[in-house]
């Protein structure tokens, strides 16, 4: 057995263990030299990115990977399973993590000069938590990782704006604890009726007892819990504050990933723990989800218009975009599902880019208020161009990622015979235009009051690289959405809905 084989066989667990170990070693690295932390994080994230890409490649070429921890076979032992769904989500996590990591060197130096070491340590642990949540095939293990990611997220948010950040973090903590407790309770219910904790095993055991009220209660607990975690509309109250007051890099990371992984978990529980028939036909949970999502899409967009803080505006826009993902999932037809899943990727790219831009602007000018953005187009041309591209993606201009997912979602809605959702999607595009165009007008056409001649003062290179890369990907995946759709999402959607079988 060569060394390479040795690694490839164990990639599923290494993707979780390496950031975990690296996270705990960060204090030691930082103790040697504070500056080393960043390189350490880069090294780790790069390794994780390589591993997740390799995982996804393996899944695409040779099917689902099963990894039995400690050699115990499921359902007794903990199993890590990588199929198309979590392989795809893991890759997103690793990529966004790497981008934010690159970006963070300057922004953290400025915003949190005393907390560089804890920041990076927690950063890696957050990645661990998200990776673990995604990869694990055991629902209790899932809960543990969910809490790891939540706790680290609380800590990251608390590092933000003095006072506000801590309060936001505390509110998130309370909401998050309720959510996690609901999920824990749901897990308990399922364990009580099936005696298993393994997802695949459970899916086999559950159908015979679907008429049991306990199963229904468990589903309800899961849905409420995850709705809080993803910030679905009526349960979104924690989200705007948390996104607004976190440090720039943390906002980008949390906005880009946390809710997406929450959405992943929702999909996983709806379609892999329970079966599509149960969620779609027997309980009509999917339909309820679509209506909630449609409401979130509209209300999120409307509320975003009312904001003057850019990060808060983006946070509300996230609420609406989460609605897109869940709408696609809830439509429960292959096309809608593809749209929803594609939007996980697309929204991560766009929203991460937008938050990075907001952070870069704050880094250079200290401004977060939209009405003070005049003249930024001349001052920070590259940054604002990235903003333009990402915002156009959000609007759904063709040729950008936003269009492709919108196309699929709208088509899925038509297929489901739900014309109202088509209208919701299209109207929300218009609302997106309204709130983004205010920013464009200020950036390029507004005249700053004090200064006549604006000096070009671009964000540092380490911030520009990830932003530009994300913007380029926004366009790349807008034009070449064929690849993720063909290789990953189409077979995946079929498999989730029980139409086809995963390779």
């Amino acid at each position: 057995m060569t060394g390479f084989d040795l690694i490839t066989d164990h990639l599923p667990v290494l993707t979780v263990v390496i950031p975990l170990m690296a996270g705990f070693l960060t204090p030691i690295v930082g103790w040697i030299d504070r500056k080393l932390c960043w390189y350490w994080v880069m090294l780790t994230m790069f390794a994780v990115l390589l591993m997740t890409s390799s995982n996804l490649y393996t899944v695409i070429t040779s099917g689902t990977i099963h990894y039995h921890l400690g050699g115990w076979t499921p359902p007794i032992g903990i199993e890590y399973v990588i199929d198309l769904l979590n392989g795809f989500v893991c890759l997103i996590i690793a990529f966004i993590g790497l981008m934010v990591g690159i970006y963070s060197i300057e922004s953290i130096k400025k915003e949190l000069p005393n907390k560089i070491i804890p920041f990076y340590s927690i950063f890696l642990l957050l990645i661990t938590g998200l990776m673990g949540m995604t990869i694990t095939g055991d629902i209790f293990n899932f809960y543990v990782f969910l809490e790891i990611s939540s706790l680290t997220a609380y800590a990251l948010i608390a590092m933000g704006d003095r006072g506000d950040g801590v309060v936001a973090s505390f509110n998130y903590l309370i909401m998050g604890t309720v959510a996690a407790s609901f999920i824990l309770l749901g897990i308990g219910y399922l364990y009580a009726v099936t005696g298993s904790l393994n997802i695949a095993d459970m899916q086999g055991l559950l159908p015979s007892i679907y008429d049991n009220k306990v199963v229904l209660a468990a589903l309800a607990f899961f849905m409420v819990g995850f709705s809080i975690k993803v910030g679905l509309f009526p349960l979104h109250a924690w989200l705007p504050d948390a996104y607004t007051h976190a440090p720039s890099a943390a906002s980008a990371l949390i906005a880009g990933l946390m809710t997406k992984v929450g959405a992943y978990a929702m999909i996983r529980f709806m379609f892999s723990v329970f079966t599509p028939e149960f969620v779609i036909d027997m309980t009509r949970m999917a339909e309820i989800l679509t209506w909630a999502a449609a409401l979130a899409i509209v209300v999120g967009s409307v509320l975003a218009i009312a904001q003057s803080d850019i990060k808060r505006m983006l946070a509300y826009s996230s609420i609406s975009q989460i609605g897109y993902i869940l709408l696609g999932v809830g439509l429960a037809n292959v096309i809608g599902m593809q749209g929803g899943l594609l939007h996980i990727l697309n929204h991560s790219l766009m929203k991460c880019a937008l938050f990075l831009v907001a952070g870069a602007i704050f880094y250079r000018t200290g401004i977060r208020n939209l009405h003070q953005f005049q003249g930024l187009g001349k001052k920070m041309p590259v940054t604002t161009t990235v903003f333009l591209i990402a915002a156009l993606s959000m609007i759904g201009v063709p040729g950008t990622v936003g269009f492709t997912s919108k196309w699929y979602l709208a088509l899925g809605s038509i297929n489901a015979g739900q014309w109202i959702f088509v209208i919701v999607i299209l109207v929300s595009s218009l609302l997106n235009i309204v709130y983004f165009w205010r920013v464009f007008d200020n950036i390029w056409f507004g005249h700053p009051h004090e200064v006549e001649h604006i000096k070009r003062d671009e964000a540092p290179l380490s911030m520009l690289i990830p932003m530009v890369l994300l913007a380029v990907l926004c366009i790349f995946f807008g034009l070449f959405a064929y690849y993720p759709l063909h290789y990953v999402l189409e077979p995946l959607s079929n498999a989730l809905l029980g139409i086809g079988v995963l390779p």
Binding site: W407, I414, I433, A481
Partner: protein, 497 residues
């Protein structure tokens, strides 16, 4: 009738040229001469690329090129047919003139943010050509939206609050229409599984329930708000706050023509002549645009601002194009399609004249233009040529399209439409002759000191005026617009000429 297809990258290149140029323009923003040099180079290359495809088209072939498979079963693809190249030639040819004209205009007025201006202009041109060469609705939609976005900075160019609010109005109308277009495309895709244009209409639409079909048609036409149909026309006069070259090229040629182009594509290449006829949509649409033709002309008469009067005139003339298409007779369609280049040449002449007046005489209102022709005879002569064309009097080209439209209406024996065409000709005369009269025959209030506009402006407007006359005198010269239109008409009607 089998149509031979040729695969070639040329259409993609033609679209790309100005994209590349736009990047170079940005890069050389600090050196005005080089920057504007790129504009010229791109304009010439683009035009020659477009022209290079003409011989194949005249042979009755079609050029296709698939760029990428954007989504499964939804490629971004180009297909050059006679109708597409008609629009492409018009806009790319006029870009050359407008580039020259822009330089004169922008430099004389010492406008700010010229780099942005040329950048957006180049992108807008790419989009226009992209629309012309689109092989399917999705590609068309891509460039349609790109055109909207890239022209917004041009409309709001002056950055005054008036310009920005006009820009907002522009954007609101066009984005809402874009959404409507997207909706229609989705519906078409849902029911037929394709969005590719076809000479006889997309197969499968005829199975739709009649109501759905009507709604689809309405959303499509709302989607073509760039064509400025009457209830959706308000953006066009508002957009006249833009610098005149923008009004000239974009709001007389590229943008609005993209609108009518899309409308015709939808009417003839998505719905198809047969479906239009069976469903009776053609007649409703014909009456609908007739209203626009008449009302816009009346509105034009009430405008004192020359650019706004021209804008309303554009609104009216655009509906001629659509009217021609929905007449669904050979002559009618010929007239409609032919009106795209003809109106383009004449209207651009008029706008360039208006711009010349703004630059040298600083005059925008017709009531201030007493005796202006004494100082600027060439400009005003060119204006007269354009105006005659609009009214439909020889020698300028306008009379030919009107003739075909009348023939089409006469074939259908529809007295109302014939009446509309005649009345509108009278109305056209009613709002253009006062301008000519004021300029040539009224005595100036005081001694006028200004002279003709700079050569960079004067030459293009003279040339377009001359071309307007040439296409009026020799409309059937080989390879000229009429030839192309005949092929296009043959394609959609399915027969020879």
């Amino acid at each position: 009738m089998a149509i031979e297809t040729v695969h070639s990258i040329t259409p993609a290149l033609a679209v790309l040229v100005s994209m590349v140029a736009s990047v170079l323009i940005l890069a050389f923003g600090k050196y005005p001469n080089i920057r504007e040099g790129w504009t010229f180079v791109a304009a010439f290359i683009k035009f020659s690329l477009v022209i290079s495809m003409l011989p194949l088209i005249l042979e009755g072939k079609v050029i296709t090129y698939t760029v990428i498979e954007m989504l499964p079963n939804l490629p971004i693809a180009f297909k050059v047919d006679a109708f597409g190249i008609l629009f492409a030639i018009t806009s790319s040819f006029l870009w050359i003139f407008v580039s020259s004209y822009s330089i004169g205009y922008m430099r004389t007025l010492k406008e700010h943010a010229q780099t942005r201006y040329y950048f957006c202009f180049a992108i807008a041109l790419s989009s226009a050509i992209g629309i012309a060469f689109s092989a399917n609705l999705v590609t068309l939609f891509l460039f349609y939206e790109l055109l909207t976005i890239s022209t917004y900075p041009l409309v709001a160019h002056t950055e005054t609050s008036e310009a920005i609010s006009s820009g907002r109005k522009y954007l609101t109308y066009l984005m809402i229409s874009g959404i409507s277009l997207l909706f229609s495309i989705l519906v078409v895709y849902h029911y037929t599984g394709t969005t590719e244009f076809s000479f006889s209409g997309i197969a499968g639409l005829e199975t739709l329930p009649r109501t759905t079909l009507y709604i689809l048609f309405i959303t499509f036409m709302v989607g073509c708000a760039k064509a400025a149909f009457m209830p959706l026309h308000a953006w066009l006069p508002a957009a006249m706050v833009a610098p005149t070259p923008v009004s000239a090229l974009l709001h007389a040629v590229a943008v609005v023509k993209a609108g009518v182009f899309t409308a015709i594509r939808v009417i003839l290449y998505v719905f198809g002549i047969d479906l239009m006829e069976i469903s009776g949509l053609w007649l409703y649409m014909a009456y609908f645009v007739s209203i626009t033709i008449i009302l816009a002309s009346i509105f034009a008469m009430t405008q004192d601002n020359l650019k706004k009067r021209l804008a309303y005139s554009t609104v009216s003339q655009l509906s001629y194009v659509v009217l021609g298409a929905v007449l669904i007779t050979q002559h009618g369609i010929t007239g409609g399609m032919l009106h795209i280049p003809y109106h383009g040449f004449m209207k651009i002449t008029l706008f360039m004249c208006a711009g010349a007046l703004i630059v040298t005489a600083k005059k925008e209102n017709i009531s201030d233009m007493n005796g202006i022709a004494r100082q600027m005879p060439i400009t005003m002569l060119a204006f007269t040529v354009g105006a005659l064309g609009m009214i439909g009097m020889p020698p300028a080209g306008g009379y030919i399209t009107k003739w075909y439209l009348l023939l089409g209406a006469a074939e259908l024996d529809n007295m109302i439409l014939i009446g509309v065409l005649l009345i509108s000709a009278v109305l056209n005369a009613a709002y253009f002759f006062p301008v000519i009269y004021v300029a040539f025959f009224k005595k100036p209030d005081k001694e006028l000191t200004y002279k003709e506009a700079p050569l960079t402006m004067l030459v293009p407007l003279t040339l377009t005026a001359i071309i307007s006359i040439i296409i009026g005198i020799w409309p059937d010269a080989p390879g000229m617009f009429l030839d192309i239109v005949n092929i296009a008409v043959a394609n959609v009607t399915g027969g020879g000429i």
